[in-house]
Symmetry: C2
Subunit: 160 residues, 2 copies
Amino acid sequence: MSDQNQFLSAALKAWKTNIDRAGKFFSSLSDEQLLQEVAPGKNRLIYLFGHLTAVHDGMLPLLGLGEKTRPDFDAAFVSNPDKSRSNLPSPQEVKESWKDVNAKLSAGFEKFSPAEWLQRHTAVSEEDFAKDPSRNRYAILLSRTNHVAYHMGQLNLAPK
Amino acid sequence: MSDQNQFLSAALKAWKTNIDRAGKFFSSLSDEQLLQEVAPGKNRLIYLFGHLTAVHDGMLPLLGLGEKTRPDFDAAFVSNPDKSRSNLPSPQEVKESWKDVNAKLSAGFEKFSPAEWLQRHTAVSEEDFAKDPSRNRYAILLSRTNHVAYHMGQLNLAPK
C-alpha cells in the first residue's frame, strides 16, 4: 500500500470505528429509552440519533454520491431544536435510515480513489476551492467523524 | 504540496481546530465555573480539562516526542474517577499545563515528515507493528482529535 493510501485508510478506519460504535449504541436501545434526555433538559437520544442520520444523509450530495434519501429529517433533527415539533419520524424509521445512509456512504467511500478524496466537496465553489484546496472530501470525512464522536460523548451521559 | 501532504495537513488542521476550540472554552471559565459538573452527577469541567491535558501529555512519549511533563496528572484525571481524590492540581496548574503540553505537541508535529507520521507509536512493539502498520502516529493523531471532540460534546452541555 502506498504511503498516501495509509493516511486515507487510517481516516476510513476511524470513520468506521465511530459509526460502528454509534450503531451498536443505538441498536441496543428500546423505543422508550430513545425518548430519554442525555441530561436533564437536553436533547433526547432519538433527536441525536436522527440528527446524526440526517447529517450523514447530507454527506451524500456533499460528497457527490447522490441525493438525500430523507430530506424531511432536516426539519425534524437539524434545523429545529428537539421537542419543538409534534410529528417526528418514528424510531424504526430512524433505525432503518441510519443503516441505509451509512451503507450508501460506505459503498461510495470504497469507490473514491485517493485523488478523488482530495477533490472539492459540493458546498464549495470551483473558484473558492482553487483558493483553498483544503475544502475537499477528505476534510468532510474527518470533520464528520469528529461530529459523531462529539455527540457520542453526550449520548454516553444518558442514564443506562 | 504533494497529495500525501494534503491528507496529513487536513488531519493537522482538524487537530488544531479542536485544540483551539477547547482552549478557548476553558480559558473563558472562572475557577468557580470549572468546579461545575457537565450534568448532574457527572464529571466536573476541571476534571475533563485535566483529563484532556493528561491524555495529551501522554502523547509526548507515545509519539516519541519526550517524557510526560506532569505524570502526576494521570492519578488525578485519568486512572481515578472525578471526586475520588481530595488533592487535585489547581485550575491554574491545569491551564498552564494545557498550554505547555499542546505547544510541545505542536512543535513536534511540525518536525515529523509524512513518513515519520506513518511510523509506529511507542505503545506497539516492532513485531506487532510489522503485522499491523496501521498502528502508527497518524492513527494516534486522528483518535486523539476524536477524543477532544467527544469530551467537548459533554463540556458544551454544562450550564453557561
